[in-house]
Symmetry: C2
Subunit: 409 residues, 2 copies
């Protein structure tokens, strides 16, 4: 299939793109793209386009074409919602006070435990369909609300089933060590040994239920020592490490990320120079989540500090019912552009090439590159700048996953 009438093609190179390389997006005007067998086989100036052997051409109708968006950090699938808690937080109540009155993550854990696998699938399918209409073609999904082996496995099975039932490619992460469930109060090490047992990790890996293992390593969550224990065991069975790091307090989580060669370290609001050096040395992707700071009305992560230090930065929704009930990656991109003052090309690299690297799929996703998967978004704006210039307006005209048109506005 030949895509023609492309006013501008944003040629994002394969990730990871470190520091100022995030701006190295080559814009080709009056372009065309040739797709064969689900892959990009040619792209360039329309006038140079080879003959298409694959049937009728698709017109981009003068739109801009970009790589499919990749959301590399979500807590989908979940059940229930915490809208009342959100309103209480806006009114000034602390998360601790909400937790103490029975709110917080435990509400979601209860809802997820009560839901069947099929219910989790039904609840989250519409969410993924809305994300597809916003240009998302690949999405990382975490367990982490079951907080007991059978419920964690149920979440991972739900991700597998969701992956089958809709076009977005879902990349599963096991986050058993997300929070301490009520029944383990005061026995965190015991919980860690249960949720991070070799047998459970082995089962998850051998059934292909997850590609990554993530731990929430922070004040009020799990210690560096506990996180190290889980991630080391996980690595042994082939689950690559990720970390929720340096969000609430600086306890050395990004140093651990470097030590275990984490694929990504996510959040980073309180990262320090030592943490930055550790990530850089290990080639870890820095995943910044401005939706969370937007949603909670708190200070944003200083993303320029990370980029100026030469780190590859990815952006994500952190979609979850507690701290970022935002499923729109384009909204996150607008926040990053307007509030964090990241130029459009830098934001685009962060949700394509670097987002792919944050889920270790930069060898086939997140770039406009020959041989890469043909995951593309056609916009109803002729340029990248015009897209970013209109926050709050969905400008996705069509979404192509692995060479197939899977969404049309």
């Amino acid at each position: 299939m030949l895509i023609r009438d492309i006013a501008s093609l944003a040629v994002v190179p394969p990730g990871p793109l470190a520091g100022e390389k995030m701006r190295d997006v080559n814009i080709i005007q009056d372009a065309a793209v040739l797709i064969e067998d689900g892959r990009l086989v040619w792209f360039g100036l329309a006038k140079d386009a080879p003959a298409d052997k694959g049937g009728p051409a698709l017109s981009a109708e003068g739109g801009c074409v970009i790589p499919g968006l990749i959301d590399p950090h979500t807590h989908i699938p979940f059940a229930g919602h915490r809208a009342a808690e959100f309103a209480r937080r806006i009114a000034g109540e602390s998360y601790l006070s909400i937790m103490e009155s029975g709110g917080g993550i435990r509400v979601t854990t209860q809802a997820v435990r009560e839901a069947s696998e099929e219910e989790l699938v039904e609840l989250n399918l519409p969410r993924l369909r809305r994300m597809l209409a916003l240009g998302v073609t690949t999405c990382e999904c975490k367990s982490g609300y079951g907080l007991a082996p059978k419920h964690e496995l149920k979440q991972l099975h739900a991700i597998r089933e969701l992956n089958r039932r809709q076009p977005i490619e879902l990349v599963p992460t096991y986050l058993g060590a997300h929070a301490l469930p009520a029944e383990f109060e005061g026995r965190a090490d015991e919980f860690i040994d249960r949720i991070g047992s070799e047998a459970l990790l082995q089962q998850i890996a051998s059934e292909g239920l997850a590609r990554f293992c993530d731990v929430f390593c922070d004040r009020g969550a799990f210690t560096v020592e506990q996180a190290r224990r889980v991630l080391t065991r996980a690595a042994k069975v082939g689950l690559k490490p990720k970390l929720h790091a340096d969000e609430l307090a600086q306890i050395g989580a990004t140093r651990l990320a470097g030590e275990v060669h984490a694929v990504s370290a996510d959040h980073l609001e309180t990262i320090d120079e030592g943490g930055i050096a550790a990530l850089k040395e290990a080639g870890t992707i820095a995943v910044v989540l401005p939706g969370t700071s937007f949603f909670l009305g708190i200070e944003h992560c200083d993303v320029h500090r990370l980029i100026n230090a030469g780190l590859p930065v990815a952006l994500s929704t952190d979609c979850n019912p507690g701290s970022s009930m935002i499923e729109s990656l384009p909204l996150i991109m607008n926040i990053a552009c307007c509030q964090l003052r990241m130029p459009p090309v830098e934001v685009l690299s962060a949700v394509t090439a670097n987002a792919a690297a944050a889920i270790d799929l930069h060898g086939r996703l997140g770039a406009i590159e020959k041989g890469y998967d043909a995951d593309l978004v056609i916009l109803d704006a002729p340029t990248l700048d015009e897209w970013f210039y209109t926050p709050g307006r969905n400008r996705v005209k069509a979404v192509i996953k692995h060479g197939e048109v899977v969404y049309k506005a």
Copy 2:
């Protein structure tokens, strides 16, 4: 027409709602609303609903029902866009530097001058249709890019025509004194006497082309003395005063707003205690525009200071191609809730009762009140909190203007 199956009805009282009264929204659960001849004739508990003589009922399908949203400050209609300038600003370039290289408002003035009335209509119709789908039933529209009598009149005629061609009720404002056009450089007083001449104002008023007269009174725009001259003449012919005030610098614009009993004073980022006192004394509505600060990545207006001082606060998009290319009032509401930390009910009052007061239509719009126009939005969320809790997701299921269903998702 009876609207039934309303999970929650947000009964906003007629505006203006000053200070903490903005929270006085009464939520009725399991409600119904009866509409006759385009007006609300009854609302209350569904079980108490009177018989409907007006034909088939409309089901809200378990959604929340709110008054139609009112956007009380937009620069629609305009032509062209300034996406490249936006990208330059994000990259750190100053507005002054952009102006000096031929960018800024003069780009829009040129585009508007070059457009015919019909072109202005065609360019802005799709924008209004998208706003309708977001729940907007009434919208203030300003001239102010023509900056010459015939082009200002063309903009006002375009507003009149746009009002005829789509369901959103448009309320026109004459903003001839928006900026100094290039050909009057160094001759601001002369420009003011031309654009604010008694003959022109009389023509605008007698043809019903505007209800308000607005002036951009700020550093780099027009002085208090110049603004006073225009607004005083405008008031004589029945055009009520509005002011762009205290945005860039404190030059006494809100004091002038109080002095001339402006219907609204808009922006207010640099308002001081004297300005607050002046607005309060005059009963002027404070219109806050967080889309502008979001879009430009600058400090938000301290809205709590205004509310705590007992002012009635309205919110608006400020939709314009330079400083807020945001047409989504729900996005502004999410920014106000999450970033400015205004509770959902307060935000709702700001875009209904107080927005109606900011355009002097609080006698028939912006409230759930017997006899008021039946302008309503049906949401696919059962509560107000759930709506605000999901930024970036359009949850408008249906829009009713003057008793007619004018949009269905």
